[in-house]
C-alpha cells in the first residue's frame, strides 16, 4: 500500500475501520465493475438491515394473539405516525429480499463463484436463503387476516405429507391440531427472535468467507487465463463509496415503493371460510403449482431433491473451475440458452396439457393416485432431466460443468414459470385463467 493511502487509511473514521474487519484492505480492481455483481449481495445486506429496523419498530405495536393481532395492525396503520409506512417498508423489503437474494444466487452461480475456495460459502448462502424464506413464511401469518391464515394453512398442510414424521412435525409447528393461538405464538417467536438471530450470525460468516476467499471472483473472458497478480485498489474508499451509494439508492427505492403501494391487508381471519382461490405467498407458489400436478408427497420430494441438488452443486467434482467466466464457456452459454428454451416450452406444454387434456385418474383408473399422480410423473421428470444431461454431453460435447449448468437452467426456468403460472394465471378453484 502506498504511504499516502496508508495514512488516509489510518485517519479513517472508526465506523469505516469497523466495516473493514469484514473486508480485505484492498480488493482486485476488476471486481469493482458494477456488471459483475450488480451490487446484489450488498443490496441484500441493506435490505436485511431495513428489515431489522422496521421489524423492531413493528414489534412495539404488535399484539401476538389471535384476538389482538389484526386489531393491532389496524391501530398501527391508522393511529401511529408513519405506522403504515413502516409496515409497508417491512413488507416491501421482505419481498424484494427474496428477489434480490435469488438474483444474487444466480449471479454467483453463472459467474462461477461457487468453485473452490468458495464452495462452503455457497452452502452458507443457500442456508441464508432458506432462513429468509422461513422468516417470510412465519411473518406472513402475523397479520392474522384471511390471506395470512389460509396461506399458512396450506403451507403447513404440506408438512403432513412428509413420510413418518409429517403429522408430528405439523403438530409441533402448529402447537396443536390446527392453526390457533399457539401457532401464532410459535411463529411470532421464530419470526422475531430465532430466524433474525440465525440470519445475522450466518451473514457475518458469509461475509467473512468472502474475505477469506480473497474477495469476489475476478471476471474474465472465456479464453482469458486468470491473472496471477491482479491490480488492487484500497477497499476504502474505492469499494465502500460505491457500496454506500448503492445502499442509499436501495433505501430510497424501498421508501418510494412503500409510499406508493400499501402492503395488503385482507379481512380478519375466518377459520370457517377459505377464500377462493387460496394461494401461498408468491415465493412458495412454485411448490403450490407442483401440488396442482403432483401427489403432495411427490411434490415435496421433488422440492427437497432440488434443494439438495443446490447444496451439492459445488461438490460435483468438476474437471475445470472457470471462476469468473460467465456461463463457464462459449459452449456453456449456448447450452444454457438451449436448456432455457427447452424448459420454457416443456413447462408451458405440461401445464396446459395437464389442465385441458390429461386426466390421469380416468386414463389409468386402476392405479393408486400416489402412482398415477406421484411416482409416474416424477419418474418421467427425472428421465427428462437425465435425457437433457445426456443430450448436452453427447450432442453438444458439454463438459460436466456445462451439462450441470444446463440442467440447472432448465429447472430454474421451469420453476420461475411455475411460479408465474400460479401467481398470475390461476383463478377460482385453481383453474387456469387469463389475468387481464
Amino acid at each position: 500500500m502506498p504511504p499516502a493511502t496508508e495514512k488516509r487509511y489510518k485517519t479513517l473514521n472508526p465506523l469505516g475501520t469497523l466495516v473493514l474487519h469484514f473486508r480485505p484492505r484492498r480488493v482486485p480492481e476488476r471486481t469493482l465493475r458494477f456488471t459483475l455483481t450488480w451490487g446484489l449481495g450488498g443490496m441484500a445486506a441493506v435490505l436485511v438491515l431495513l428489515q431489522l429496523f422496521s421489524g423492531t419498530l413493528l414489534k412495539f405495536a404488535y399484539g401476538p394473539l389471535p384476538t389482538q393481532a389484526y386489531e393491532s395492525l389496524v391501530r398501527l396503520q391508522e393511529g401511529f405516525l408513519f405506522g403504515r409506512l413502516v409496515r409497508n417498508m417491512h413488507f416491501w423489503s421482505a419481498n424484494l429480499l427474496v428477489v434480490v437474494v435469488c438474483l444474487h444466487g444466480l449471479r454467483v452461480f453463472f459467474s462461477g463463484g461457487f468453485h473452490p475456495p468458495r464452495r462452503l460459502n455457497w452452502v452458507v448462502g443457500l442456508s441464508l436463503f432458506i432462513l429468509l424464506l422461513l422468516s417470510n413464511l412465519t411473518g406472513y401469518l402475523l397479520p392474522w387476516d384471511q390471506l395470512a391464515y389460509w396461506a399458512t394453512t396450506i403451507c403447513v398442510g404440506v408438512l403432513e405429507y412428509i413420510p413418518l414424521v409429517g403429522s408430528r412435525l405439523q403438530q409441533v409447528v402448529l402447537g396443536g391440531p390446527q392453526i390457533g393461538p399457539a401457532t401464532l405464538r410459535n411463529f411470532f417467536a421464530l419470526h422475531t427472535a430465532v430466524f433474525p438471530a440465525l440470519i445475522v450470525m450466518l451473514m457475518a460468516f458469509h461475509f467473512w468467507r468472502v474475505r477469506k476467499a480473497g474477495g469476489l471472483v475476478i471476471p474474465r473472458a472465456p479464453a482469458e487465463e486468470p491473472e496471477e497478480k491482479p491490480a488492487m485498489v484500497p477497499t476504502q474508499p474505492d469499494l465502500l463509496l460505491r457500496e454506500a451509494a448503492m445502499a442509499l439508492a436501495v433505501i430510497a427505492g424501498v421508501l418510494v415503493l412503500s409510499l406508493i403501494f400499501d402492503a395488503p391487508m385482507g379481512q380478519p381471519a375466518n377459520p370457517g371460510l377459505s377464500p377462493n382461490p387460496t394461494k401461498a405467498p408468491w415465493y412458495f407458489a412454485g411448490i403450490q403449482e407442483l401440488l396442482v400436478h403432483f401427489h403432495p408427497s411427490f411434490a415435496l420430494l421433488i422440492t427437497a431433491a432440488l434443494v439438495f441438488g443446490l447444496f451439492c452443486l459445488p461438490y460435483l467434482d468438476y474437471a475445470e473451475a472457470p471462476a469468473g467466466v460467465w456461463f463457464a464457456s462459449a459452449t456453456g452459454r449456448r447450452t444454457a440458452l438451449i436448456a432455457a428454451a427447452a424448459a420454457a416450452l416443456a413447462t408451458l406444454l405440461v401445464v396446459a396439457l395437464d389442465e385441458y387434456a390429461l386426466d390421469t385418474s380416468t386414463m389409468l383408473p386402476n392405479l393408486h393416485p400416489a402412482v398415477s399422480l406421484g411416482l409416474l410423473p416424477t419418474v418421467l421428470l427425472a428421465a427428462a432431466l437425465a435425457g437433457l444431461y445426456a443430450v448436452m454431453v453427447k450432442k453438444f460435447q458439454a463438459t460436466r460443468l456445462e451439462a450441470v449448468q444446463a440442467v440447472f437452467v432448465f429447472l430454474a426456468v421451469g420453476w420461475v414459470l411455475l411460479t408465474v403460472t400460479c401467481v398470475f394465471f390461476r383463478g377460482q378453484g385453481m383453474k387456469l385463467r387469463w389475468p387481464f
Binding site: 403432513e160 377464500p275 382461490p277 378453484g429
Partner: protein, 182 residues
C-alpha cells in the same frame, strides 16, 4: 504444591511426559464431555419446553362433544354446517348420519358444501367430495375425516375430540337412528 510432586527428579520428568499428556488429554476430554452434557441439557430443556401439550390435557372431553340438535331437524339428503365444531352433519338419503370434518384432506382448507352441485368443493386446489365425503376429484387422496355420531333420545351429538381417517366410504360408517330404520 504437594511434596510428592516436587520430589520428582528432572531426569524422570521427561519419562513422565506421556503420563502428563494423558492427564491433560483426560482433563480436556472431561471438559468436552461436560460441555456436551450441558448442551444436551439445554437441548432437552428446549425440546420438552416446546413439545405441544397433549390435547387431552388442555381440553376436557366434555367440551369436545357438540350437541347438534333434534334428529328431526336433519332431513334426509341435507348437509348442516357446524362452525364451532368445524364439521358437517350429513343426513344421507337413507336416513344415515355422518359427521364430516370441514378440513380438506389435501392441505387443510375449509371445504364448503355447494348445494347446487351436491358436492363439497374445495376452493384451494379444486378437490371435490360427494355427500359421503368420498373423493370425486383429486388432488385430495382420501375422503373427509369423520367424527363419532351418537343419537340419544332423538338428540344428535357429535364427539369432535377424535377425528377418524378413513380410506373410503362403506356402509358401516353412517349411524342409523333406531327410528329411521323402522
Amino acid at each position: 504444591m504437594k511434596p510428592s510432586k516436587t520430589r520428582t527428579p528432572g531426569a524422570r520428568k521427561s519419562q513422565e511426559m506421556p503420563a502428563a499428556v494423558t492427564r491433560r488429554g483426560f482433563l480436556n476430554g472431561l471438559w468436552a464431555v461436560l460441555g456436551l452434557a450441558a448442551l444436551a441439557e439445554f437441548l432437552w430443556l428446549a425440546v420438552s419446553f416446546l413439545r405441544p401439550a397433549k390435547p387431552g390435557r388442555t381440553e376436557s372431553q366434555a367440551d369436545a362433544v357438540v350437541t347438534a340438535g333434534a334428529l328431526a331437524t336433519f332431513a334426509p339428503g341435507t348437509v348442516t354446517a357446524f362452525q364451532n365444531g368445524a364439521f358437517y352433519l350429513v343426513r344421507l338419503e337413507d336416513g344415515g348420519l355422518l359427521a364430516l370434518s370441514c378440513k380438506c384432506t389435501h392441505l387443510g382448507c375449509t371445504v364448503p358444501w355447494v348445494e347446487k352441485e351436491k358436492k363439497f368443493l374445495c376452493p384451494c386446489h379444486a378437490s371435490a367430495f360427494d355427500i359421503t365425503g368420498s373423493v370425486i376429484s383429486s388432488p385430495a387422496a382420501r375422503p373427509l375425516d369423520t367424527f363419532t355420531v351418537t343419537v340419544e333420545n332423538n338428540i344428535v351429538k357429535v364427539d369432535t375430540g377424535r377425528r377418524f381417517k378413513r380410506s373410503g366410504f362403506d356402509s358401516g360408517q353412517p349411524v342409523y337412528p333406531p327410528k329411521a330404520r323402522s
